[in-house]
């Protein structure tokens, strides 16, 4: 019984939050890694692209809610998601046409593009704040829990509760579907293959008759879709506030770099590594230890490696270690 309690406590406070956070990071990191692999620069505007996509989705969600459209137990935001993706696609394509294409034609160095993307980041950031405001916005509806802590306790008779929020379940399921579709697209379709070819060797791809502008447009389409999905899932699970998306940029980049920039598989692995280490290292293990250890070994302290204040520092330490010992990342992406 104690063993079961320990497992449930661990699942409730560590595994489930880290799974959903990891999925959101992975989706974000996939976008970053695609831009890096195919367009060859680090896109600092990615966090705010996520915020923009989520914002459009929220506005459409509110519209749907006001006219009474809903999905029953599922959040209405899922219905609004395609509109959010369309809005986000329009934004990144316009940005590419107005800003990035100019530098691409000049064959500007990646470092210049990085700085340019920072400028884009500030403009998008301002745009989102201007339209929806800097405050917290709530747009989730439908059933809040798949299973709530109280129900779980009465069902199993255990001391510990296990809560799974609808948004958490949804996040993981959506992430799996999106990743499966993405990999099928990259590996099985003609367009996907041309994108990979362009990423591997730009000149060779040009010689084989691949239209670079088409590849760029497709890349932005996918990146916008990924960003919007990640942004909406994050907003549903936590809450939507423009500033938190800006902060999300750091763990997203850490995930992409740890996994190996340019490697889609690495982005996913990196997302989960960052999420799990953030949560497990700052988790106080006392509760689990009390259940598992015999009474005389019970700890007095909290058995916490790091105070939760240092949560963000964890991703930086992992990033440093990876950059020092394996600069290409776990899955051998392109070296920075």
């Amino acid at each position: 019984m104690d063993f079961l309690n320990a497992i449930v406590a661990l699942t409730n406070y560590v595994v489930i939050p880290a799974m959903s956070y990891g999925s959101q990071l992975a989706l974000g990191a996939l976008g970053v890694t695609l831009v890096y692999g195919i367009l060859r620069f680090s896109n600092f505007a990615h966090g705010d692209t996520m915020a923009f996509g989520a914002m459009v989705t929220i506005l459409v969600t509110w519209l749907m809610q006001s006219v009474g459209i809903n999905l029953g137990p599922l959040p209405t935001a899922l219905l609004a998601l395609p509109f959010g993706i369309l809005g986000c696609v329009a934004l990144v394509l316009v940005t590419d046409r107005l800003v990035y294409r100019f530098y691409r034609e000049q064959k500007a160095k990646p470092v210049i593009l990085v700085i340019v993307s920072m400028g884009v980041m500030f403009i998008m950031n301002g745009l989102v704040r201007f339209i929806i405001g800097p405050d917290d916005q709530r747009f989730s509806d439908g059933a809040r829990f798949i299973i709530s802590a109280r129900d779980f306790k009465s069902m199993t008779g255990l001391n510990e509760g296990l809560a799974i929020k609808t948004s958490q379940g949804l996040t993981v399921v959506t992430a799996v579907v999106v990743v499966a579709v993405l990999f099928w697209f990259l590996n099985r379709t003609r367009t996907g293959k041309s994108m990979r070819a362009y990423s591997d060797n730009e000149d060779l791809a040009l010689l084989s008759g691949i239209n670079p502008e088409r590849v760029v447009v497709y890349t932005w389409l996918i990146v916008a879709a990924l960003a919007t999905v990640a942004g909406v899932l994050y907003g549903l699970d936590k809450s939507f506030k423009p500033f938190t998306y800006f902060q999300l940029l750091l763990p997203i980049f850490a995930s992409a770099i740890v996994g190996g920039l340019g490697s889609p598989l690495g982005a996913i692995a990196g997302g989960f590594i960052i999420a799990f280490s953030e949560v497990t290292i700052t988790y106080a293990w006392k509760k689990v230890a009390v259940y598992l250890l015999p009474e005389r070994f019970e700890p007095d302290g909290l058995v916490q490696l790091l105070s939760t204040d240092y949560k963000l520092a964890v991703s930086f330490v992992i990033l440093l270690i990876v950059l020092l010992f394996r600069p290409t990342g776990i899955f051998r992406g392109k070296a920075l």
Binding site: A9, K238, E278, A284, K287, L302, Q304
Partner: protein, 395 residues
């Protein structure tokens, strides 16, 4: 040179004697900065007290009138506060200062300007425990309680409810840390146990790691020393979602209408406290404030009225506008014995003092000065019953 000497001698002679004069009160508040939204109402409350004294026609010799001079502290800008205080004393020649507003800025202007110039400062809103022990030559008073007092009240509430073990999380700033620490020491002194005392950052979207640590440490109740529209709400949300805690204790930063609206029906049995009292003074002040055209229920407006009234009453009791003289009388007029004085009754108080009697100023916030001249602090204890915030009692 001779003229100058003569003039100086004449001024020296005049000082301290009562004659018809224009008495000035400096209002040193954060008219800009993070608390700029409540400063105008605080200043209006000071002016309300001044108007009452003027209308009575018996202030000091009966011919003296009181006026106010505003000065800005920026709330978080110590150098601006010091410059403003300097200006009030040397150029405007005020006889007393109501201010400063925020704890850090108040400390700076007290130490750098008020102390060297021997000026009385009565702050309506600086609550840092640090100001309790500061060297002030008897010149500094405050009509707001120290945060240390709230920590003690929280410990009392928990002990009365028979709760022996709590987890504490606080917002990572001076207010949160000060309150959490003063609470922990008061609670542990009275035999309670704090399982964890940890900070949370405001403005984050995700508090699952914080909630996980709090849940693991355990406790019967979670004390959330945060803000209801910031991280505090995130912590409560996360705790309810994961089933980590069902019962919470809410200090003053959390008790508000927003708390009732967002969590009312989910935190049944939770409790908390915020500054408040059940004397008639509050109601009378609210009526007078609305008539005067400001919002009397805004935070620290009652304390501002009381701060100004205390200075004026102390001047009357001492028969002097010299800070060095009337500073001795501030504690006397604030506390028993004497006739109780509520808002709107300043004329009565001034008359009693004129006749040589004693007053016990109650004012809008039930002022009772303790220790080195700070308000004892009255708190309203609340509890959530059937989804609504209800008053349990006053402490």
């Amino acid at each position: 040179m001779k003229k100058l000497l003569l003039a100086t001698a004449a001024t020296a002679l005049c000082a301290g004697t009562v004659y018809a004069e224009d008495v000035k009160l400096g209002i040193l508040l954060g008219f800009t900065g993070p608390l700029e939204s409540i400063a105008p109402d605080m200043a209006a409350a000071v002016d309300l007290a001044i108007a009452e004294a003027n209308d009575s026609g018996i202030f000091l010799d009966g011919a003296s009138t009181v006026s106010s001079v505003n000065a800005d502290t920026g709330c978080v800008d110590a150098s601006l506060a010091v410059a403003s205080a300097e200006r009030l004393i040397t150029s405007d020649k005020v006889n007393g200062i109501v201010g400063g507003m925020c704890s850090g800025e108040t400390t700076a202007s007290l130490q750098n300007v008020a102390l060297p110039n021997g000026m009385v400062m009565v702050s309506p809103s600086a609550t840092s425990p640090g100001l309790t022990t500061i060297e002030d030559n008897g010149l500094f008073f405050r009509t707001s309680p120290s945060d240390a007092r709230q920590g003690q009240v929280m410990a009392d509430i928990l002990n009365d409810r028979g709760i022996k073990e709590v987890a504490v999380t606080y917002t990572n700033n001076d207010y949160g840390k000060g309150l959490a620490d003063s609470f922990q020491s008061a609670y542990e002194e009275s035999g309670g146990k704090v399982t964890i005392n940890t900070a949370h950052e405001d403005g984050k979207a995700d508090y699952s790691a914080e909630v996980g640590a709090l849940a693991s440490a355990g406790g019967e109740v979670l004390v959330v020393a945060g803000y209801v529209d910031q991280g505090g709400a995130g912590i409560v949300n996360g705790s309810l979602d994961t089933g980590a805690f069902d019962t919470f204790m809410f200090p003053d930063g959390m008790v508000s209408d927003a708390l009732e609206q967002n969590f009312g029906d989910m935190v049944e049995g939770s409790f908390g406290q915020h500054p408040g009292n059940d004397s008639d003074g509050g109601a009378k002040f609210n009526a007078a404030g609305e008539a005067a055209g400001f919002i009397p229920t805004n935070a620290f407006a009652p304390e501002s009225y009381d701060a100004a009234a205390l200075i004026l009453l102390a001047m009357q009791a001492a028969g002097s506008t010299d800070p060095q003289v009337y500073k001795e009388k501030v504690m006397d007029v604030a506390n028993a014995p004497g006739e109780q004085i509520l808002p709107g009754e300043l004329a009565k108080g001034l008359q009693i003092l004129k006749d040589g009697g004693e007053v016990d100023f109650v004012g809008a916030s039930a002022v009772e000065l303790i220790g080195p001249g700070e308000s004892a602090g009255n708190y309203r204890e609340i509890e959530f019953k059937d989804g609504a915030m209800t008053t349990v009692g006053y402490r």
